[in-house]
């Protein structure tokens, strides 16, 4: 797996800070927010300095019941080419429903919603992933999402679901440790158990983000500082494998450069300590 290093989610609001931050090996951009023929100057400058840029899609809905849309896939492929990206990433989620399969109006969720961990959903997801892989010029990695709700009647654990997905499609994984924490608080799924079941050989990189707990519900806001429990899940992951890359995500209520640098340092510290533990 290609080594990416430590990175941060590139957002226009913090473009100046990212250009100044020391030790940013790579960035991720939300694929739908960049136009391949008009890349922002700040992003172009990072590329010229040798910073890797990875497009991260949010609208394919590969976990949905429909086959992925050819136009959306072509748009993602075009962004991967324009950015010279070594891989592209998306989510294990559904984002729309309705339409011809149910003879009902099409609805957009405007958000990533969880796929039921059933045989049906896995079969559909595997075929959708293969369709996407054929349309994309570089490897695809998929992210586990944060969920507020549980599907009733699930047939597989997250580990079983992801292991089979990887075996059947060769897709890589983007593991969001904040989402593992979210699923711990909101669905009672122990991140240590989840990590033990994950096919970490397929790990492409890791997401780290902040959130907030309100009334016993974890909101994966990307608008709050990264908390200790999320870094602890990162440490648990790093005790099992050396991740090829780790990326900090911040999407709202952007802090100053000092706080961003501090969060990146906290991530690097976890990586360094885990290296010592693994070497011991």
């Amino acid at each position: 797996m290609e080594r990416l290093g430590t990175g941060i989610g590139w957002r226009p609001e913090i473009a100046a800070e990212i250009a100044e931050l020391p030790g940013v090996d790579w960035v991720e951009v939300v694929a739908e927010n960049v136009c391949p023929s008009h890349l922002p100057d700040a992003l172009q400058e990072l590329r010229e300095r040798g910073t890797t840029v990875v497009p991260h899609g949010v609208s394919l809905g590969l976990g949905g019941a429909d086959r992925p849309d050819a136009g959306r896939l072509a748009a993602l492929a075009e962004r991967a080419e324009a950015l010279g990206a070594p891989l592209v990433t998306e989510h294990i989620a559904f984002v729309r429903a309705g339409g011809p399969l149910t003879a009902s109006p099409r609805m957009e969720a405007g958000h990533l919603l969880p796929v039921p961990r059933t045989r049906d959903a896995l079969d559909v997801l595997c075929e959708n992933v293969r369709i996407a892989q054929e349309a994309l010029p570089v490897p695809l990695a998929l992210e586990n999402i944060a969920a507020l709700i549980n599907w009733p009647g699930e047939e597989l654990t997250e580990g079983q679901f992801l292991t089979e997905l990887v075996e059947r499609t060769g897709v890589r994984l983007l593991i969001d440790v904040a989402n593992l924490h979210t699923n711990h608080v909101n669905r009672g799924e122990d991140p240590v158990v989840a990590l033990d079941g994950l096919p970490l050989d397929a790990l492409a990189y890791v997401h780290v983000a902040g959130g907030v707990e309100r009334d016993g519900v974890w909101h994966d806001s990307h608008a709050h500082p990264v908390t200790r429990p999320v870094l602890d899940v990162l440490a648990e992951l790093c005790a099992r494998t050396a991740p090829p890359g780790v990326l900090l995500e911040r999407d709202e209520d952007f802090p100053g450069i000092g706080e961003l640098a501090g969060e990146l340092d906290a991530i690097r510290t976890v990586l360094k300590e885990a290296r010592h533990v693994r070497a011991a």
Binding site: F94, M107, L113
Partner: protein
């Protein structure tokens, strides 16, 4: 949760379904979706029956979350309400970003009015279309009550959706979209 990461509805081509792309030779679907994967690889096996079952389940859930239909069996209703509110709040945030004039015109009334509009109205296109639909929804109900604000909102909506927009094609498309919405009453 964040405005930067939501699926960008309607920003990519919404290609019509392509029946020719369906991998279902002779219209035969795999009768047992639980067949082990090594015995029946996906390619050629046909996922159409699984797709239909998944579509029904996902549509029932999303419809409960964004269209106010009853909660499907087995879900935690409290959690569904939390998710539903989170979806509307996020939608309101994104609409406020793509159409910042709306919260300016509506002031403190923006959020409650948007929640009232969105509660039973799923988003079917992009956020710009949603912003226009929201404005049209308010104007059709003679809101906001303040005449000056209503006039401002009318002007905002007309500039973007008027009957004779400045010839550019995206505007013409928006106008058609709004006429469709108004046509639905």
């Amino acid at each position: 949760m964040s405005a930067r990461r939501e699926p960008a509805a309607g920003t990519a081509a919404d290609a019509p379904d392509r029946p020719d792309a369906r991998n279902q030779p002779g219209g035969v679907s795999r009768p047992d979706s639980r067949t082990p994967p090594d015995a029946a690889p996906d390619a050629g096996a046909g996922t159409d029956a699984a797709r239909e079952r998944l579509a029904l389940a996902q549509t029932a859930l999303l419809s409960a979350l964004v269209a106010g239909t009853p909660a499907p069996e087995g879900f935690d209703r409290v959690r569904l309400r939390v998710q539903s509110r989170a979806l509307i709040a996020k939608r309101a945030d994104v609409v406020a970003k793509v159409a910042p004039e709306l919260p300016e015109i509506l002031g403190a009334g923006y959020r409650p009015a948007f929640v009232d509009y969105a509660r039973h109205r799923p988003m079917s296109g992009g956020y710009r279309r949603d912003a226009l639909d929201f404005a049209a929804h308010l104007l059709a109900r003679s809101r906001p009550q303040d005449p000056a604000a209503r006039q401002q909102l009318t002007r905002w909506w007309r500039e973007r959706a008027g009957p004779r927009p400045l010839s550019s094609r995206p505007l013409a498309r928006l106008a058609r979209a709004v006429r469709r919405v108004l046509g639905r009453g």
